[in-house]
Every structure is written in structure tokens, then in C-alpha cells.
Symmetry: C2
Subunit: 760 residues, 2 copies
């Protein structure tokens, strides 16, 4: 009997009941017998050498088990530097500190309050050094964050792009297509603008936490991580152990958004547990997260040549990424996002320089969108400005330039399964773009704007899956994808269920545990639905094939209507046995040429997202009120339309916060002024538009599982420039730096009116 | 490069360091947030109906979370009866109690001491019923332990042998080969004896413990269990849930010996956790283990016809197994051991009746040897008495009758890979049997004795294994075999390492967790080395084949000398991926004919063990001092000679305790008089023989992994009769009931001397 189709169903999330009843497992709730709490002593300065650490008072405090510094760490890990791109980040600061809040020492106690109090007693003397904070200045500054670069990490290709000795340049990616200089020389008109994005934080509401148990022979790390396989490999490397002596398990995550990727607390808790010979747990406060990982501040200079038909003939992009003190995955952001910096447009001549810089800011890494929102912010503001200058309708101007199916993208990769034009058209249709738009009266002006972005998926990365069938026919999927709220458990259940003809609700998803769930690169970059989805689909097919083989072995004719449980009973004489399907998935990929950045296979799939906004600006206060936020995306064929819709809306709202509200404010010494939710404002219900609409265009990713591809980031792409474009539409001023605060808008309005307030 | 051979190495146990440093995980140490302790209210009588349970005072006690009886259990599990053979055992007593110590209610509190104190406040009123305790009397007694039999369980074949309505017979196994009546009629001489074995306990030094966490959707049970897959299936059946909603995980076990098989506390903690909506842990005291599971007391009547050449021509065996109040796996003991009751001799005409009886004793189940030691006790005492009567040397008498390779056993199954004759000869050689034996002087007499037993393996049972290889080439084995001290982790590591050409020390064994380790029938009956060993070997071969396929895919010539880690790097471009080998193993088997008990394929392999003892008996006190205990066994080709040797010695010492020291003593009302180690004596160092020697004969189990087969029980077989035979040899008296206490020996000596003391 054929069950109803399991993919395409808006099945509620499998874990919904466990979460709303408070029974879902989070590492924060985990306690182990004999466990110690670790609290960190952090650097109060942005850059300096450590002269002396005095931990005597802390060690003397009753209940303190130990105070650990890099000296102790290096007794067990001689080279305690980690990182996905480069091995540049020490477990605890060694000799110097490079950013505000950098961990310098850890205090261990069975009582967390005692550890916290003792941490206050640790005195660290520093010789302060001048800091470098701006990404553009960092490119040429004599102030060096790292005296020596460490270009060795997981990704071989980054090594070759990495680092200029004696500079703060961590990595330089360049792309050269066509002849940009000639095209600019021949251009009808040339437009050039610069745009800046501010540093922001991921703010997962479950702060980072990790707990390690260790013996001489093995370590088990329980961690709120998006990348258990990476953690396993990196901890094994640090310890000089084989992978099979390192076990990493995760539970549900209270959000990740890129903050919980690679190594965050895992190396620290491992070192602490080995030194203390006790389980050690470190859980950060919300404030500490601000010092741990951020999103890249970014400066983009973008210049386009346009012919008389409104066709863009050349584009040059220069992108400076503020990577903070340690590279984390910044070099990959620089390269992977860099090659799309010219936008989803069909441009013959493109030059891109995308540069990762070290600064004395807290490290920047992956954050939902992986650099793309910063680039779209630039190129779609720029696009709007050009259309405005050409007096072309912004939809029409995009239509003339849009990158269509079968045409080569800047890298030379021919576009396939990227419904960019369809997304643009559907957005225009939803906004009734052709109809007259009500402009408002009085000081409150109405405007509308659109923006359009695209993103490549990270590649090449592998996912491996197990699909097991128990003797009663019930099914479990063992995979390393971390459900951090995005609904991956539900998607994987739907895929396995579709193949095995089961109700998706009946499939059990086993959470990552590297002892038993096979390798998965990480849960990031909207890769799981495509990569792990393909692996799960193939593993389920393998299990289905094994069931068919079992039936044949039992002498049943093909297609015989025998229940799975009955097959097991006949084979084993009782309820016994397990059918195990396995598969690995690795998409094909061609690395870009190092000199030109060109490749004919840049990505396994493209993500496309567009945003339309309608808003009001109070021209007397600068206050913006969003009336309508429309997201249209190509996600291939949605596996679960309702989850896809909420993913698109959630991404849009997150980016809305980064556009209108959020900003990490540093003073000139690199001190963070607002590391709390009292001062760092994230969107609340009152900040949301009255209407939020998200939808997908009819599409199929032919290489994806049941036509699906990633969706977690596409809603972020266009939000910032769509809002800026709408503000321009409403009140005639152009903002080029995020966030778009009432103050900034107000100043721009006054400046446009010639008022001196703007100059303050 | 070829590593040294990994099988055949006396590798120290992988977990040795973790255990001696106190870092090995045991469920006893596990605590979960919000956990409650459950303490049991137990029946003080052996048989009676429950009139009333008054839990008011207990419920009123501060700190008590709940008092649970069967009434509450049945709200969530309408038919709360479990058991591997029959579903006859209630989670908590329903309407009546059937043995001393039967659980009637459970008290839950966050503090174990409060739960314990409150349990004392629960008042239960009973209407006492007459009890039946003796297995032979139970066969015909009007006192019925169960008014209705419940012959439904895991094993379909047992149903057909199960239960006579209106009796205490749980199962009757019969075997009929040749024409026993005619052979007896024609016999030169006929010998008949009866032997009794006492009830004893497994005494794992880690008492039983289980901890359940449950939601409406799933339950996780952490348990010191030898049979996680069985627990999963049985709990799923009780709850009416699919298997994939039940997760069972184990850690190291502090001994099992059969006590921790099937359901012990798992159904109880599951019900309690579901009712309390909190994690619940129940850990038994040593005393409580006496009420939970025991070894079958047993009466054997054995009769042989012998011709003038000293050849046994016929044998009739009647065996009554005292199963206690619930069947547990007793019916399987009755059948599986039953068919070997005639011993390892080549006898044309055999009749066996093996009967499982219900009595009002605590339940009896599997214990190392699975009934065989009780049978060998009878047939090897009997063999010695016949040899003595025929004035034949006991080795020579056995030589004339021994079951040789290629000859049919009583079931008709032709013997293969059973080195019975070689074991006998090697034992005689080690004992220098042909040489004069020093008899001692004065009141201390010396004697020697031998005995020989064999055992079939349980069949058909399946094992499924996963062998995974991480991207650095390190290997893990995921399997459901429970290492309870027998060294199975080490054996599995050696098997996988041999196939994959790795050092066995480098292989990680992942402990059972039914979410991720595939099905295994159970860790019992010496089946793991053979069954799981074969599964692991095949899974490792599958992994090896996949590595070879990967090398071929990468264009490497066959046999190219490329490291595994390099294969992964070439395939994935970095340290990534997992190779997964899988295999299931199910030996062939032919079930016995229900009427005759005959089959041509009774077992996947035979275990053979022989014991020789030299001892002194103080004829003035009856005190026995063992001088030498020699075990010789056929274990196929040992995977780890040192572990095999310690397994044989350990088994012999355990059986030595059951022979000389241990006995559960019941009064006439069924009260257990000695449920503590103060009164129930297990062997200490002072009880051990001066010389303990264990060795294996050169042999190979051709169907086993690298020629190996099970070894955990073979050392138990011959111990009791070898000692009784040696006592007879020393002081001329024959004991037919276990244990062989000084008092019993003294009385027998005095009785032989015509002294009335013996009659008391």
C-alpha cells in the first residue's frame, strides 16, 4: 500500500511537543557527577602583551579546584591553536591578547558562583599595545594583530590564498573575468559607491555551552555545536589522538546561526577536563557571546559601467572583511561570498578583490548568509542608485541585466536551477509594482523598495547517513545534521519516509554523536537539505534495496505485499535483526583558478532570494515603520512548505534586526559599549512589519533530494537594501552605512535639506 | 604493510585502565536532573492473595513523590506482563503474590533514604495460600502457582511445548531416540541414580540497576543489562509502541552471569517514569537480588543400561527444573539443556524428559552454564558410579563411550568441531592419570576425580554489527554485545583489527545503545564470540571491501600501498567522510521435531569442557581442601589465550562456589533464611585451590570467526561431579545433593560407618 506522499507535506516539526513541554534535551541542562564549572578571566583590553598573571588569591579561595592558564594547557597540548581556516586561535591567550574579552585564564570549581567570584580575583597585568579596528585601515596599518600568520587549516585551497607576511591580510581572493579596464574606458556611464556593514552578533538565545569528560584514553564532549564532526577532527588533531578516541555529541540547539560552528568552547573544556581529571562544563553568559564570535563588519566599494541601453557592462568590487583577531571561517566567507560580489547580473567584465583582514575586534565568522547580506546590501543599493540615475524603473533595470538560466556567472559557471528572473517577476507581481503606490501625506512618507540576492553553497563537502529499520519495521535516521530550530529532523524524516513508504511522523531521528552518527561536514550554509538530504535519500534507498533483497532471499516474488515486520520474522524466526542502509554524498565541484577565480563548477546549487518592502518614514523623527515585508525565494521544491515559509520569514526578520536595530558599538580603544540586550536591541514583536509574506517560486533543484535545496539563508539577502531603497523612495535620502537608525535617517534628511545637524 | 596477527594475541583487556582507575562507566553512577529513586515494597510471604494495600502513611511522608501499585501501572500498560519465554510476570504484583520478595508497590522520592523509609510504611494485607516449593512435588501438586498459563513469548517453538492446563508444568521437552525400553530389557546391567542441585544466586557484584527517562513519545532506559535489544523489543511491546521510540543503552556491567538478561527492572522503571513524568532510577541491594532471579534447583533421575564391554546402550533421563514463580527463560533452559542430558556419550537409545515447573520460589533463569552444570553434576556422578561398579578406570570407561567426531548426538545431530575425546585425553594427561596417586595418611585422605560436559549454543539467534572507519583511518565497532567483564570488547577489537590490518588496541568499541548499535539477540550462552564475532568479521570485511572500492574509484591499482587517511583525503579533499561496513549473522539451524526432539542441526557449535580435581578430605570433620583444579576445554582457536584462560578459571571458581559453599536456604514457608553475604557464602581467596590450571586443546571451530567459539561457560561443566567423584575417591562416600558441605560429607562418612548421626 502506497502511503500519502511524505515530501511536500507541511508536517509539524517532530520535536514540537518535546520543546513546548520543556522535555527537549539541551546541553545546558546536562550535569555529570563530579562536574566542575569553568569560568573565564577575560582580557579588558583589545591589544596587549601579558606581563603577569597572579592567580594566588583565586587559588586560595575555598571551593576553587584550579586556575588554568595557557602554561598549563601547553603541558598537555603543546600547540594549542585551533581554527577551521587557519590554526591561529589559542585555547587561552598566549603571551598577548588580541581582542576585548579574549579568554586569558579559567577558574574551576564545583560551584559556578565560586568559580565566578574567584575569576574576579585573578589579576592580569598587561602592556597595552595600539589597536587596529577598521578593516580598510587594517590593510595597510603598521599595527599587526599577528606577527606571524598561520595559514594551515582544514581547507587546502585557502592556504594558497592566505596571508601576506607583515600585514593584517589573512586572505585575498581575486576574480578577473573579461577586461574590466577596457569596459570602463568604453562605458557610457560609470557609477561608484561605497557601503558599510556594522559588526553584529548571532544572539542564539541558548548561549554557547560545552561539557567534556576525559580520560587518558578518550574524551567525550557534549556541546551545543553545529559541527560535531569538525569538532571531533579538530580536537583529535589538537590532542594528537585518532578520531575514534574523541566523541562529540549534541542535543537540540537553541539557535545557532553560525555562532556554534567549528571550535568555540570545545577545545577549552577538553583541556580543562584533562587537566582537572574531572568533567568540566563551561556555559557562557549572553555578554560573553559578544566576545566570542560576531558577524563581519564589511566595507564594499563597487563601481559599474552601464551602456546606453541600461546594460551593465563592467563591475569592479572591492570588499574588506573585518575578521577580528582570529580568522575563524572568515577566509572562507571572503572567498565563497566574494565570487558573487557582483550580484545576480549578467556582466561580461568583472573584477573582484575580496580581502580578509585581522583587526583587534572580537573574531568574526559565519552568520546566516555567510557574507552575502553585506554584499547584497552594497550591490542592491548600488543597483537602485544606478536605476534612479538612469531614471529607469528598478524592476525594469534589473530585468535588463538579470542573470538568466544558462548564462555564465562571474566565475564562468553556467547558471542551472537558479530561478532568479522568476523570483524577480513574482516579487514584482506580489508588490503590484506596476500599479500606483500611495505615497502618504504630511510628514509621514511612504516608500517601497526591492532587492535581490543569490548565494552559492559551500563545496565540496560531504555528508554520510545511516538509515536503519528495526525488526518491527520502524525506522531511524542516524545523521550528523544538527537540528538547531531549522527543522532538519523533520526534513530528514520526510525524505526517509518518502523512500520507505512510511509516515514521516514515525521516523526517529538520532541526534549527532560522532561515535555512531557518521561524518557530516557541518550544519551550515543551508547545505543540510541538499547534502544530508541526498545522503539520507540514498541511505534509505539502500535500506529499501536490502529489504527487497531479503524478500527475494525468502522466495517472495518482487512487489509481494508483505509487511516489513513479517520479513524479519520469516528471516529470524522472531522479532529480531536490523536492516542498515548507508550512503555518502559528495557533490562534484571544480575549485576556482587561483589567479582568476574562474571555475565552471562553483557550487552544487544556487540559492536565490528577493525582498520587497513597503514602509513609512516619519520625516520629522527619522522613524521607520515597516508596513509589509515580502520574501520570494527559489528553494527548489519545498519538502515542507510551512517550515520553508517560516525559515524565509525568520531569516528576513533576523536581517531586519541587523538593518534597523542591531550594532555592536566599540569605543576608540576597542571597548564594546553595549554587550547586553539592554543596550544591544534585537527585534521584538513591536518591531515587526504588519504584513510578513514569504513564498517560493515553482522550481526544482534537479540534483537535490526530491527537487529540494537549501532555504535557511535566502530570506536574509535582500532585506537591508530593500529597506534602504524604500527609505530613499519615501524621503529621498540614501544611507550607505548599516544600521538604518532613526538618527541616521533624520541626519540624512536634514543634510539633504542643507541642515548642519547632519555634519555633527 | 601487514600488521602482526591480531587474533591469537593475549592483548590486555581494552578497558583495564579505565576500570582500575575508576573511570569506567557504570549505570550505578548515572544521575539525571530531576531524577527520582524508586524503592520497592516486597511480599513477605511466598504465596497469597492481596487483600488491601494501604499507602496512605507513605504518601503523606514529606519528600515522597508517589506510591505506585499495579493499579496505576495498568492505567498506562493495560497488560503489564513480561517475560522472554512466556508473558507471565507482572511489573508489580496483580491480585496475588507468588514468591517471597515479589515487588508489590514502588515508592518514589528524590531522596533514596526517604523512599526507603516510606516503603516501610506501606501496609499490605494478604490472604496467605499454601505454597509449593519442590520441583518434583510441583509436577503433581494441586497447589497451583498460576491458575492460567500464558504460553506466549518471544520464542515460537516454546509455545508448542508449553504448559499443561491445571498443573504447574510450564514446559515439557521430550527426546526419544532408538528404543530405550528394549535396550533396558536386553541390558547386561542397569544403573539408576538421582541427583539434586540446590538453588543459588548469580551474585553480580554490581547489583541490578535501571534508570528510565520517558516522554509521551519516547523512553530511554539506561540499564545494566545483558540484552539491550531484547529490552527494547519487550518494552515496545508492553507500551504498544514501535521499537524506534524505545532506546536502551548499557555501560560496563559489574558481572552478569545471566542475572541481567531479559526484563529485570526495565519494565518497572519505564512504568514509573511514565507515571511520575520524571526520570526514575531503581537500584537493588544485594539482598533484593536474591528475590529477583536465581539458578534452577533441579532434580535429575538418570538410568543407564551397560553391556558386558562397558558400553552404554541406553539412557533415560528425567529432569525436573524448579523454575520458581515466573518462567523467565526457564523453559528454554529446560529444552536447550534438556537435549544434552544424556551426556557426551555415544548412546544408541536415549529417552529424555525435561520438565519446567512453576513453584513458589523466586524465579529461576539463565545462569552461566544454562542448566548444563546441573545435568553434568548428575550424568558425571552417575558415570563415575557405573565405572566404579564395573571396576573400570573412569577415564577408560569414558573412552569406551565417548561421543566422537562424526557420530550422532542424542538429537541425531552429527558432531562436528567438538573435541570431546581430545579434551578427555588432555585432562588425563595433565593429571598423569596413569601414574600412582598419593592417597594421604591419617584422617586426611586424598582423592581425585574427573568429569566432562558439553553444551549446545542457543540457536537460531542473530547478531548485526557496524564497523566504521573515520577519515584518519581509525576504526570503531558498533555492536550490541555487552562487556560484563568477559572481555568481549577486546575480542571484537581483535577480530576487526585482524580484518582491517590495524593494531587491536586502536579499535574503539561503542557500547550498546539501541538507537545506534544494531540488533543483537543478547550477551548470553557464550554466543557472542561466535555470533557477534562472525558479524563483526563480516562487517569489517564489508568496510575493507568499501575501502578497496574507494581506492579503485580513485584510480589506484589493486594492492596500492596508500594509507586509509590518504584515501579519504583524495576522495573528499580534506579529512572527511566515514566508511561504514555492515553485516548480520544468523547460523543455520533445524528446530527439533516436537514429538521426538530429534534434529540434524541442533546447534551452531558445541562447547566442551572437562574438569579434574585433586583434593583432601578430613574424614574427621568432612572438610575438603582442593589441591588442584584443572580445566581443559575446546574453545576452537582462542582469539585471546590469556582472556580465554581467565574465563575458564573464573567459570570453574564460580562453579566451585556452587559446589562447596553456596545455597539459598528456604524454610518450609518459603522464607529465604540467608539473603546476605554474611549467611550466603561465596568463594573467597581462601577457598581457592592451591593450583588452578586452565587450558585449551588445539582445535578450530570452522564456522567461527578465525576458528573461535564461545568459552564463558565451559569451565563450569565438570566442577561439581569432579569434586564429588574425588571425594568418593578419597573417603568412599557418594554425595548426590549439592552443595558438598563439610557437614554433608561428615554425615555421609558417619553413615557409611553405620553411625546414626547420618540419620538425623
Amino acid at each position: 500500500m502506497r502511503a500519502a506522499r511524505q515530501v511536500g507535506r507541511s508536517l509539524p516539526r517532530l520535536e514540537a511537543r518535546a520543546k513546548v513541554t520543556g522535555r527537549a534535551e539541551y546541553i545546558h541542562n546536562l550535569q555529570l557527577p563530579g562536574m566542575l564549572y569553568g569560568k573565564l578571566v577575560r582580557s579588558p583590553i583589545a591589544h596587549g602583551t601579558i606581563r603577569r598573571i597572579d592567580a594566588e588569591a583565586a587559588r586560595a579561595m575555598a571551593g576553587v579546584h584550579a586556575v588554568i592558564t595557557s602554561a598549563e594547557v601547553r603541558q598537555i597540548i603543546p600547540s594549542p591553536y585551533y581554527g577551521p581556516a587557519f590554526h591561529d586561535q589559542p585555547i587561552l591567550a598566549i603571551d598577548k591578547v588580541r581582542h576585548i574579552g579574549e579568554p586569558v585564564a579559567a577558574v574551576l570549581a564545583a560551584d559556578a558562583a565560586i568559580a565566578e567570584a574567584a575569576a574576579q580575583l585573578v589579576t592580569v597585568e598587561y602592556d597595552e599595545l595600539p589597536g587596529i579596528f577598521d578593516e580598510v585601515e587594517a590593510a595597510t596599518s603598521p599595527v599587526l594583530v599577528h606577527e606571524a600568520l598561520k595559514p594551515a587549516g582544514t581547507f587546502a585551497d585557502l592556504k594558497h590564498l592566505g596571508g601576506k607576511r607583515g600585514t593584517n591580510v589573512a586572505l585575498e581572493f581575486r576574480l578577473r573575468r573579461g577586461d574590466v579596464e577596457r569596459a570602463f574606458a568604453a562605458a557610457g556611464q560609470v557609477f561608484e559607491h561605497s557601503f558599510r556593514s556594522q559588526p553584529v552578533m548571532h544572539t542564539p538565545l541558548e548561549p554557547m555551552v560545552a561539557l567534556a569528560e576525559a580520560t587518558e584514553a578518550s574524551v567525550t564532549i557534549h556541546t551545543a555545536s553545529q559541527s560535531p564532526s569538525f569538532v571531533r577532527i579538530e580536537i583529535a588533531r589538537l590532542l594528537g589522538w585518532p578520531e575514534n578516541r574523541v566523541r562529540v555529541r549534541t542535543a537540540y540547539l537553541g539557535g545557532g546561526f553560525g555562532a556554534k560552528l567549528y571550535i568555540k568552547l570545545e577545545a577549552l573544556v577538553t583541556a580543562l577536563a584533562l587537566l582537572a581529571r574531572r568533567p568540566v562544563k563551561v556555559s557562557l553568559t549572553m555578554e560573553e557571546q559578544f566576545y566570542t564570535i560576531t558577524r563581519h563588519a564589511c566595507t564594499v566599494r563597487i563601481k559599474s559601467a552601464v551602456d546606453r541601453d541600461g546594460r551593465i557592462t563592467a563591475r569592479r568590487c572591492e570588499v574588506w572583511w573585518n575578521g577580528g583577531a582570529y580568522a575563524d571561517i572568515g577566509p572562507r566567507v571572503t572567498q565563497k561570498s566574494g565570487f558573487t560580489a557582483a550580484g545576480p547580473y549578467d556582466i561580461e567584465n568583472v573584477a573582484i578583490d575580496s580581502v580578509a583582514l585581522y583587526t583587534n575586534r572580537p573574531p568574526a565568522g559565519a552568520l546566516r548568509g555567510f557574507g552575502i547580506p553585506q554584499l547584497v546590501w552594497a550591490y542592491e543599493s548600488h543597483t537602485d542608485l544606478i536605476a534612479r540615475a538612469l531614471a529607469l524603473d528598478p524592476v525594469e533595470f534589473r530585468r535588463r541585466n538579470i542573470l538568466r538560466e544558462g548564462r555564465p556567472q562571474a566565475t564562468g559557471t553556467v547558471m542551472r536551477d537558479a530561478a532568479i528572473a522568476a523570483v524577480l517577476e513574482r516579487l514584482a507581481q506580489k508588490l503590484e509594482w506596476g500599479r500606483p503606490f500611495e505615497r502618504g501625506t504630511g510628514p509621514v512618507k511612504r516608500g517601497r523598495g526591492i532587492a535581490l540576492g543569490f548565494k552559492a553553497s559551500i563545496s565540496p563537502t560531504a555528508s554520510v547517513a545511516l538509515v536503519t529499520i528495526a525488526a518491527d519495521g520502524s525506522c531511524a535516521v542516524q545523521c550528523g545534521t544538527v537540528d538547531m530550530g531549522q527543522g532538519s529532523d523533520t526534513a530528514m524524516a520526510q525524505i526517509a519516509a518518502e523512500v520507505l513508504n512510511l509516515p514521516a511522523e514515525s521516523v526517529r531521528i538520532v541526534h549527532p554523536d560522532t561515535d555512531v552518527t557518521p561524518y557530516d561536514m557541518a550544519t551550515l550554509g543551508s547545505r543540510s537539505t541538499f547534502h544530508m538530504g541526498n545522503a539520507v535519500k540514498r541511505a534509505a534507498e539502500d535500506a529499501r534495496d536490502k529489504l527487497a533483497a531479503l524478500a527475494a532471499e525468502l522466495g517472495l516474488p518482487p512487489g509481494a505485499n508483505v509487511e516489513i515486520a513479517e520479513l524479519f520474522r520469516r528471516r529470524y524466526g522472531m522479532q529480531a535483526g536490523t536492516i542498515i542502509g548507508t550512503a555518502s554524498f559528495l557533490p562534484s565541484y571544480a575549485p576556482p583558478d587561483l589567479a582568476t577565480g574562474l571555475t565552471d563548477n562553483a557550487t552544487p546549487f544556487w540559492m536565490v532570494g528577493a525582498t520587497g518592502v513597503e514602509l513609512e518614514v516619519d520625516s520629522e523623527t527619522g522613524r521607520v515603520r515597516l508596513l509589509r515585508l515580502v520574501t520570494v525565494a527559489d528553494v527548489g521544491t519545498p519538502l515542507n512548505p510551512r517550515i520553508v515559509e517560516t525559515q524565509l520569514s525568520g531569516a528576513a526578520i533576523m536581517q531586519l534586526g541587523f538593518t534597523l536595530l542591531e550594532s555592536m558599538e566599540f569605543d576608540r580603544d576597542g571597548q564594546l559599549k553595549n554587550p547586553s540586550f539592554a543596550d544591544y536591541k534585537i527585534p521584538g514583536l513591536g518591531d515587526l512589519p504588519a504584513r510578513i509574506e514569504s513564498e517560493t517560486v515553482a522550481a526544482s533543484q534537479h540534483s537535490g533530494p526530491f527537487g529540494a535545496k537549501g532555504v535557511g539563508e535566502s530570506g536574509t539577502f535582500g532585506v537591508s537594501p530593500a529597506i534602504a531603497n524604500a527609505i530613499h523612495d519615501a524621503v529621498g535620502v540614501r544611507l550607505t552605512s548599516l544600521p538604518l537608525t532613526p538618527e541616521a535617517i533624520y541626519r540624512a534628511i536634514r543634510a539633504a535639506a542643507g541642515d548642519s545637524l547632519a555634519e555633527e
